[in-house]
């Protein structure tokens, strides 16, 4: 056992912190209000290599470990979760999926520009009738010999507009049920793709979430990831890693709110003393600190297992479920500590509270994580 980070991990953590504080912080409130995508900031983040930070350098990635990724995700999420979720989808879902299961040709063609940050990716799984239940895909990818013909609608797609490269999960053989599902790499500019309007969300409002409609979209056969029918296990394995990203995001939302509340409690006075000196506030902060520490340890454990090439599916589900629920609790308490100031925009904590809510919902709700965890108990 060793709880010490390497110098490199600390350097990455500091780099992410500097980026968040110098770049993202100044207009994060305005972007949230206007639901405005952080175009320039994302470009800089990509140039720094954060979007493909774990990818093998031979495909232009950063070559860093998952521990570093957790640290970076936490720092970015303390300030701006809309940017953090983009980073998570690129790293954990799209890039990891192609790097792990794609063939060499696909890696050269699609992975390289994604890993180097020139292009952004999106992962299209959710449907109007199939959110967490990934087996019942209604989007179809009809086998037309040398290509697939894609038809259907995907919902709640993060990076739908900013991405150039989609991974689409679709049904090819409905009679084979989930064994008939395929994962296809789709160029967003293909004919027949249209986007729904930008979703007007409660939180993470500057993340570009849209529905995506496919109408007879031709996808070359060579864009299929893995063998015919590999789509479902592909999606499940990819989401296992995705949970580490979202767990770290929830962790960052919680620690961001905690840091702000702690600072405020040492500045704000009530009844003649700083409110930290009131036990009701100090104990709240103490509880928050313990929960955050727990969450961080769960995230790092899952990341460590992944880095050791050990099974991490249960650990990542535990981290995701705990951190998401914990972020909701911690941000709610942070708003309470701020009182009236917490309820207005400029202190950030109400926004963090709105952002926390989404981490309990997307990439597998807390309830779905509990299904994963409880099933693992039987083994």
């Amino acid at each position: 056992m060793n709880f010490e980070f390497t110098e490199e991990q600390k350097m990455i953590q500091q780099a992410a912190k500097d980026f968040a504080e110098r770049e993202l912080l100044q207009d994060v409130i305005e972007r949230d209000e206007k639901s405005e995508f952080a175009t320039e900031h994302v470009k800089k983040l990509a140039e720094l290599g954060f979007l493909g930070m774990m990818t093998d350098p031979k495909y232009d990635g950063g070559g860093m470990d998952t521990i570093s990724y957790v640290l970076a995700m936490e720092e970015i999420s303390k300030i701006d979760s809309s940017v953090a979720v983009l980073m998570s989808v690129c790293n954990s879902l799209v890039i990891w999926g192609i790097e792990t299961y794609g063939n060499e040709e696909q890696k050269q063609k699609f992975l390289r520009p994604l890993a180097s940050g020139q292009k952004i990716g999106a992962f299209l799984l959710s449907e109007p009738e199939a959110g967490s239940d990934a087996t019942s895909q209604r989007t179809t990818a009809e086998d037309k010999g040398d290509h697939y013909l894609l038809n259907g609608t995907k919902n709640w797609i993060t990076n739908a507009n900013s991405a150039s490269t989609y991974i689409v999960i679709a049904q090819t053989n409905p009679e084979k049920k989930h064994k008939g599902i395929n994962a296809l790499i789709v160029d967003k500019n293909s004919a027949g793709i249209t986007l729904g309007p930008h979703e007007n969300k409660m939180g993470m409002r500057s993340s570009d979430t849209h529905s995506v409609m496919f109408n007879d979209v031709k996808v070359p056969k060579e864009n299929r990831i893995g063998e015919d029918g590999f789509g479902f296990p592909f999606a499940m394995k990819t989401l296992e890693g995705g949970r580490i990203g979202i767990a770290s995001q929830a962790l960052g939302i919680a620690s961001g709110a905690f840091e702000r509340a702690l600072k405020y409690s040492m500045e704000r006075k009530a009844f003649g003393t700083e409110i930290f000196n009131h036990q009701s506030v100090a104990f709240k902060l103490s509880d928050m600190a313990v929960k955050i520490e727990n969450g961080r340890n769960l995230c790092l454990k899952a990341a460590w297992l992944k880095d050791q090439h050990l099974p991490y599916g249960t650990a990542s589900a535990m981290a995701k479920q705990y951190c998401a629920d914990m972020a909701m609790e911690v941000t709610t308490e942070a708003v309470q500590i701020f009182g009236g100031y917490g309820y207005v925009r400029e202190y950030h904590v109400e926004r963090l509270m709105r952002e926390a809510k989404l981490t309990q919902i997307y990439e597998g709700t807390s309830e779905v994580q509990k299904i994963v965890i409880s099933r693992s108990l039987l083994k």
């Binding site: 290599g49 950063g62 070559g63």
Partner: protein
């Protein structure tokens, strides 16, 4: 041209300052260390020039006087773009020691431009750059707020009290830089951090030097006193207090 940037390892500027051993030593417990902000600006400017004129600047080296614990700071400098790092294995006991160690190493190499930050955020000394130039018998330009290389020639502007001077100097020289020389320091990229693993970081054994000064004891500033109220009919008194007591105007 070869540029050398002297970097100092200092506590993060948000560090809460505490002392131990009867206020004779800085309490390093839990302190995060960074490149001295002024030195980092010097490095940033050197990197900007190298990026803008690839052929002009051949190599940027960073040098630090410190024990092994300062290596992360040197690695950070390599991660943001310096080509080589040198650590002189000595405790930076006072400015003269540091300058003497640096001078010994630099005199055996051939750098065209040596840059130092005007002060460090820990000892606030404003010493090392000037001492180093004297030890090397090189010209020095201090309070440099603009530095460029155009057509192979060095362009410098330095701050004077109440203005700015354009200064020319032959190389080699020591440039002692202040804020304004570069915009924000760089954030290391993943590629840069990865590259820093393999960049050379040479450790050189220290020579015997002496110290001229010693920080014997430290005090913390007194806690903030209550607001001193001044009669609104006696505004003059406020101005006098600001001048004579607070010494801020």
């Amino acid at each position: 041209m070869k540029i050398l940037v002297c970097i100092s390892n200092v506590p993060d500027t948000t560090t809460k300052i505490k002392f131990t051993d009867n206020n004779t030593a800085f309490d390093q417990a839990g302190v995060q260390w960074i490149i001295n902000p002024w030195d980092e600006l010097a490095l940033t400017r050197a990197l900007d020039i190298k990026d803008a004129q690839a052929g002009m600047v051949e190599e940027i080296t960073v040098i630090n006087v410190g024990l092994a614990a300062t290596e992360p700071t040197i690695r950070k400098a390599l991660a943001i773009g310096a080509d080589k790092g040198i650590r002189i294995n000595a405790e930076p006991k006072d400015a003269f020691t540091v300058a003497s160690q640096l001078a010994d190493v630099i005199s055996k190499e051939s750098f065209d431009i040596i840059l130092c930050g005007i002060e460090s955020s820990d000892s606030n000394g404003n010493n090392v750059g000037g001492m180093l130039s004297e030890l090397l018998d090189m010209p020095s330009v201090s309070s440099v707020s603009h530095f460029d290389i155009k057509d192979g020639k060095v362009e410098l502007k330095r701050e004077i009290d109440g203005g700015q001077e354009t200064v020319s100097t032959p190389i080699p020289f020591v440039g002692i830089v202040q804020k304004g020389i570069a915009k924000e320091p760089r954030i290391p990229s993943m590629r840069g951090i990865m590259g820093a693993r393999t960049k050379p970081l040479q450790v050189i054994e220290a020579i015997q030097t002496e110290t001229l000064t010693e920080f014997a004891t430290y005090d913390l500033p007194k806690p903030k006193a209550a607001c001193k109220k001044i009669d609104p009919d006696n505004v003059k008194e406020l101005v006098q207090l600001l001048h004579n007591e607070a010494k801020v105007i």
